[in-house]
Amino acid sequence: MTGSATSQAALPTPRKSGRFLYMASVTLLCAWVIVPLYFLLINTVSSPDTVNNYPKPFLPPFDWSSLQFFASYQGMLSALKNSVIVALMTMVLSITIGAPAGYALSRFEFRGKELFRMLVLLTRAFPLPLLALPLAVMFIRTGLDDTAFGLALVHTTLALPFAVLITFSLFSGIPVELEEAAWTLGCTRFTAFTKVVLPLILPGIAASAIFAFVISWNEVFAAAVLTIENRTLTAFLLAKLGEAPLHLKFAGGFILVVPALIFIFAVRKYLFAMWGIANR
């Protein structure tokens, strides 16, 4: 991608003070995000005594005892595996069934459109723990209970509003003329979609994927109720974290954060994948 060349055009001729202000704000905002995480790291690699004491250190003391406790905790690895499986399934499911609906919302006027949008949104506006009982009864009766796939179905319900609405807003941002131009050049609706629109929508797919993965990764309640042998890491750790001794709370929280960060890091570049395409 020719990122540097194209974005250069967007840059105003920077005045010195403006430039400084700009760099300072970027740095400040980065610090705003990182400093709390740095505190989490400090507490994770502190001995129980240090975690409980005042004042707190500002450099990590590198005491590994809390992390070692979890390393010896049985079932961590299989729970990690389950979490990844469920999160990836959720991602694939929510994108494959969500993106077409997002496209329909942005390109067509049809009866019941508003109703459909509301339905999609409502899933996020009603607390899952209340729905968990009827869902669990249904799952036990149908044999979906305690399977990664079953849990992924529930998590997909949570992730769908993101997938549908994000793809909708991005499709809306792509001029319909672009597609029409492709049709006049002999493309069918389908090939116009795959050749022209899909590449443009990649950042939206990436954004939805991030959301789907993270939502599934961090969901506790349904995971605690619907999985027994195939526990996810979150249900395994976080459900009990609220009552763990402080130092283990931090270490457990840290362990949960790391895989999610790795995932976001892997997907992040797709958010910019279309860079240069839209600039034509």
């Binding site: 009982l133 309640f221 526990r231």
Partner: protein, 423 residues
């Protein structure tokens, strides 16, 4: 298109993994609300359940998921849960039809009171008393020099406790009493089992009595020396260790970590006494088998195993909950168990002991019952409303609960014919 390709590859890979994991051997599922902290859960698995001949999958959960899963299995008429472990209150809220009668197991607790509670108002054991605990006081040794003159830490009164916390505040400039008023704190038990019995010799009948007004006035006084962040405290071991609180009240197992981490820095002692004695209250956890248990024989065997004296001692070490059967305690107990055991023994052995019972007969209104006391606390102490007005107000709610459930009085309230009256 590489993302799409990767996604589809990931998807096909997942199906393979999902199929591969489907055929694993099935362990016994022990579905519990107790021993939730990661270390305790680990100790239950390694120290207690590893001795049973079938592998046991010990899954502790908060009440929400615990109950939701259990209800779902009962509704679906098909289950995976083999054995339930929970507090008396959890079982009391269930229908007796959903639990197996456990009389034919031939095991029971030493205490007939516990065994009666476990019948949940029927004539059969619906759950088995499993382990017990209580609430006690603990203090950092730094606080001991400020004990009021002539006060015996093992026979404190509420007035002495207030004077003590006042002395500490005067000396350090900080409010150092810690009270579990956080979202998960067990504050309601303090009012039901400690404050009310000590001042009014009752819990329900005397809820809005003049003695109750005095009790709340005293508590307000104590609160004025209480760390104001107590509304965030749910496990006072944390504040003991951090030094944010020096004198605290909490559940024995929620203080354990302080004693185990730094046994020489803290002391445990009985709860204080009021005009009508030294009120205190037990915590009772039980074992039950749901109607939907897939392997009834194995479930029963596990319950029997957990009631064995050796297992009960192992459970004590793992969870800081004491045995309910007759056992001789060994010497090699963790510091937390020794400290808590001594304090509870002094509390129940004291001349002015006024033991209360767990609420019984409230069924699924147990939560509403607790809320009456918590609301009263929040209105009187946090919102600063007039004590008499609040008590008269909350009294109606309490009376409504008692009438609806028809629950008779329990100690220290005098027995009643029919529903316990709020006087």
């Amino acid at each position: 298109m590489s993302l799409a390709k990767k996604l589809s590859m990931a998807a096909s890979g997942l199906v393979l993994i999902a199929c591969a994991t489907a055929a694993e051997a099935k362990d016994l599922l022990f579905w519990s609300t107790q021993a939730r902290p990661v270390q305790e859960a680990q100790a239950m698995r390694e120290g207690v359940l590893s001795g049973f001949d079938t592998p046991v999958d010990y899954q502790p959960n908060e009440d929400g998921p615990w109950l939701t899963r259990l209800k779902a299995e009962l509704q679906a008429g098909k289950g995976t849960i083999d054995v339930l472990g929970a507090l008396h209150g959890n079982f009391a809220a269930m229908s007796a039809d959903d639990l197996m009668d456990l009389d034919d197991l031939g095991v029971s607790a030493q205490s007939t009171t516990f065994n009666t509670l476990a019948k949940l108002g029927t004539d059969k054991m619906q759950y088995l008393p499993w382990m017990q605990a209580s609430y006690i006081m603990a203090a950092s040794k730094q606080a001991l020099p400020y004990l009021p003159e002539g006060a015996d830490i093992n026979a404190l009164t509420y007035d002495q406790l207030i004077a003590w916390t006042a002395n500490v505040e005067e000396a350090t400039g900080e409010k150092k009493f810690g009270f579990p008023a956080g979202p998960k704190g067990l504050k309601h038990r303090f009012f039901q089992g400690y404050l009310y019995p000590s001042y009014t010799n009752g819990v329900v009948r005397t809820f809005a009595s003049d003695a109750a007004v005095t009790a709340w006035e005293k508590f307000r006084e104590l609160w004025s020396h209480t760390n104001p962040a107590s509304t965030n405290f749910s496990f006072l071991q944390e504040q003991l260790l951090s030094g944010d609180a020096w004198i605290v009240f909490d559940h024995t197992s929620r203080l354990a970590q302080a004693f185990n981490d730094r046994p020489d820095d803290f002391v445990a002692f009985p709860a204080p006494a009021g005009p009508t004695g030294r009120g205190f209250m037990p915590v009772l956890a039980g074992l039950a088998i749901p109607k939907t248990a897939p392997d009834m024989e194995a479930s029963k065997a596990l319950v029997q195993y957990l009631m064995k004296p050796e297992t009960q001692i192992a459970t004590l070490k793992a969870t800081n909950f004491f045995p309910v059967v007759d056992v001789a305690l060994p010497d090699d107990l963790p510091p937390s168990v020794k400290a808590a055991g001594d304090a509870v023994a002094k509390m129940s052995g004291s001349a002015d002991a006024n033991p209360g019972l767990l609420p019984a007969g409230l069924g699924d209104m147990g939560g509403d019952f607790n809320r009456v006391y918590v609301d009263t606390f929040e209105r009187i102490v946090l919102a600063g409303q007039d004590i008499r007005t609040v008590l008269d107000d909350q009294k109606k709610v309490l009376a409504g609960i008692m009438e609806k459930t028809g629950a008779p009085c329990w100690a220290p309230d005098a027995p009643s014919e029919g529903a316990c009256p709020v006087e």
